[in-house]
Amino acid sequence: MGKIIVMTSGKGGVGKTTSSAAFATGLALRGFKTVVIDFDVGLRNLDLIMGCERRVVFDFINVINGEAKLSQALIKDKRIDNLSILPTSQTRDKDALTREGVEKVLNELSKDFDYIVCDSPAGIERGALMALYFADHAVIVTNPEVSSVRDSDRILGVLASRSRRAEQGLEPVTQQLLLTRYDPERVERGEMLKVDDVLEILAIPLLGVIPESQAVLRASNVGMPVILDEASNAGQAYLDAVSRFLGEDVEHRFVTPQKKGLFSRLLRRSA
């Protein structure tokens, strides 16, 4: 049975799609059969970030509606063998996501894949609820600023009350924090929240800190998950995060301007 991971945040523009693409690619690089699904119906972006937008014929909604088979809609990544993308529809809206339809697709995927990464849309409405409903694990993508932290807190509350695991009284959805667009220099100047500030409010384990990086935009524009840019800070940080997700003990990098201090404190909090 595949494990269902949701990338969610509440707030928009914090890096859910970038992180979904990078994280799924990272898992595939480590040899796991991985699929990444775009739940942002009507605002289809994942295919662009993954660089497969010109190969989309059928999509997630077609499969839900029985208009296409799952195998027809899945796009195999050209760079990595174990990686598939399930794009969404640009013409429909979130109402096209039915719980039964989503469940059917996820059940089918979990027979073949080790990890199913769900790229959630922003908000706490239907699209986001459907993306997180079946999750086993949630990666909360947060920027180091107050509104993003508050929205992440809200989404944690939704996970604890409205996910399938919550409704059926199963083991709760496990949660980890991915702090993105972190700029240690601005943190130093007091213009951004510190890692510790965010952890204090959200009170969940830290999966990784992704530094603000030119490489992210560059990678998006050429349709390459940034994790494949191994020379970049952001790419390395995502590789570290994937290792931590798989249970390895990896030191947090890119957290301070000079790589000194603070680490021991952070390490204690990391999962």
């Binding site: 508050r150 929205d151 807190d153 809200r154 944690l156 509350g157 939704v158 604890a160 009350s161 204090e200 409010i201 009170a203």
Partner: protein, 252 residues
Amino acid sequence: MAAVSSARQGADRDGPFQLRGNSFTMMVLKVNDPASPDFFTQLAVKVRQAPNFFRNAPVVLDFEELTEDTPRFDIAALVTNLRALYLLPVGFRGGPRAVHEGALAAGLTPMPAGRAAKLESAAAPADPQAGAAPIPAPPPEPVYRPALLVTEPVRSGQQIYAEKTDLVITAPVSPGAEVVADGNIHVYGALRGRALAGVSGDTNARIFCHSLEAEVVSVAGLYRVSEDFGNDVLKKPVQIFLRDGYLHMEPQ
């Protein structure tokens, strides 16, 4: 929990009516001198202080101070004048025989004397609105109600209400969350959201927290917003309570 009901109750629910006991909190208007010319002017002043609290509030008239020697007065007129102030007299207690009979004739229900405020559900049309004024509530039911214990962080957007009991939280309360109790609120963690204790009017309710970073705190309707918190309490272990009609915040 609402889904838990016996088969018999389920059958009742389908019938055209249900009969069951219920208790309501009501104000008692103690009538000391019904003949006083100031009676209604002073009462009107009182009502104007908290119009929403008093509007259409059911009232029990307490005639226990009256004796056989009290000059006769028109109970029907008293009821009419109270209704003019949007109070709804529904019952009475005590009083000499003549008053008793007059009250019955005016359509008031005799209430059992003493503390017990039990009545059958037909009597009162509605609960008095939970108001903002710190009006002393009747003592809580003598039955032991265990505190509501919350061990997970209370997240932004979540609301937790401890009905007729205390609320104990062993985790932080996030900004944008709301924790509400009829009794005390204890937060063994940082209180960053809104905390409202004694919402049904218990002025003895208190709020305790390990670190006060709240947006709003309130006891029995008296509130204070974070802007008004002093540095002596901010981010410190604090106890919040009412004394002499003021909200006190004391670092622990």
